[in-house]
Amino acid sequence: MSKIAYIIEFIASRNPVHAKKLRQNLTCLGELYDIRAEAFLGRYELLLSREGRDLDFAIECYLKMIADFTMETIRFRKTGQYSSRSFAEVNARVYANPAVMEYYMHGLLLSQFLFKHHYEMFCFFCGELGKRQACARHYLEVGGGHGMQLAEAARVLGEGTTLTAVDISRTSLELARQLTANDRILFVHSDIFKFIPERKFDFITIGEVIEHLEDPAALLRCAAGLLADDGRLFVTAPTNAPAIDHIHLFRNAGEIRQLILGAGFAIETEFFRYAEDMPAQQAEELKVTLLYGATLRKAAN
């Protein structure tokens, strides 16, 4: 039995509705998905075993995260708002709570291969990074989270490239450090708004971070200041995605585009996927989560 098949069987015993969705979503992703997922899960199991844990622990974390999502979705359906309104509230509830952060980070890590839209966005990221492989000398990831994209950057970008990850959460940084296991990466525990680098960066990744902020535009403007003039910013954000740590509600992709353009960027390429397999009109009506991603360059003055 493959590791993915084992995970889905485990989930089916606890959350049959979610397992049903996973079975439907993951059967059509192709051979490359199977290869990537098994390779990643093999590395992840090694990481877990070094901590005296196993895949079952990670699946339990994932199930807790799904339970959180479900409860938040029910409230979102009724109120039309996310449950957290301020960074201070989320900080107390999540970021400064190591137990919550731990299951949330492990849950998110598994979601990269269990959520179809997460995996497809990861593929988009790989393609966009690949286009800049030759010219990305200095790579920065803001809010590196679980480290999946960081690991890909370390794999793809040449030995001469510097790699920096800045995160406000020590738990995230530690998980990313262990997952990437790469001495080339500099991990910086800092608020990005207080981060003062020695140089500008050629490629900056901000993956599913701006929805965690009270003022997402401020982060994009901050990133513009850190980005080389001919550099690229890769940014992703979800719409209608109730979660315990989401603050800023984007109601549609247009609101994200508007934010991007207002922060002084031009959109070079973009990609989006709904979290449920259904026609776009139905997904809009039901306020189904849409994951939006784009590669940006500084707009001409």
Binding site: N15, V17, K20, T70, M278
Partner: protein, 79 residues
């Protein structure tokens, strides 16, 4: 109210539901339907379900039990 009246429109079926029915036996009982079932129960009982109740909702029988725990008796059988 009969449990069929509550669940059949959400699950888009006219077949009478059995207590043992759940996501495995009803093709339309998916993640969207699950949220719709929970919100329909909350509307019916006039209160919010706990996380444990939400997570345990895996069958028609459990829908009936949860409603009963909130003081609403659902009839079972053809409506």
């Amino acid at each position: 109210m009969n449990v069929n009246e509550l669940l059949q429109p959400i699950l888009n079926t006219t077949s009478p539901l059995q207590l043992a029915d759940g996501p495995e036996s009803i093709p339309t009982w998916d993640s969207i339907a699950q949220i719709n079932i929970i919100t329909a129960i909350e509307d019916l009982v006039g209160g919010e379900l706990s996380t444990d109740e939400v997570l345990s909702l895996k069958s028609v029988a459990r829908v009936v039990e949860i409603c009963r725990a909130h003081g609403v008796e659902l009839a079972v059988g053809p409506s």
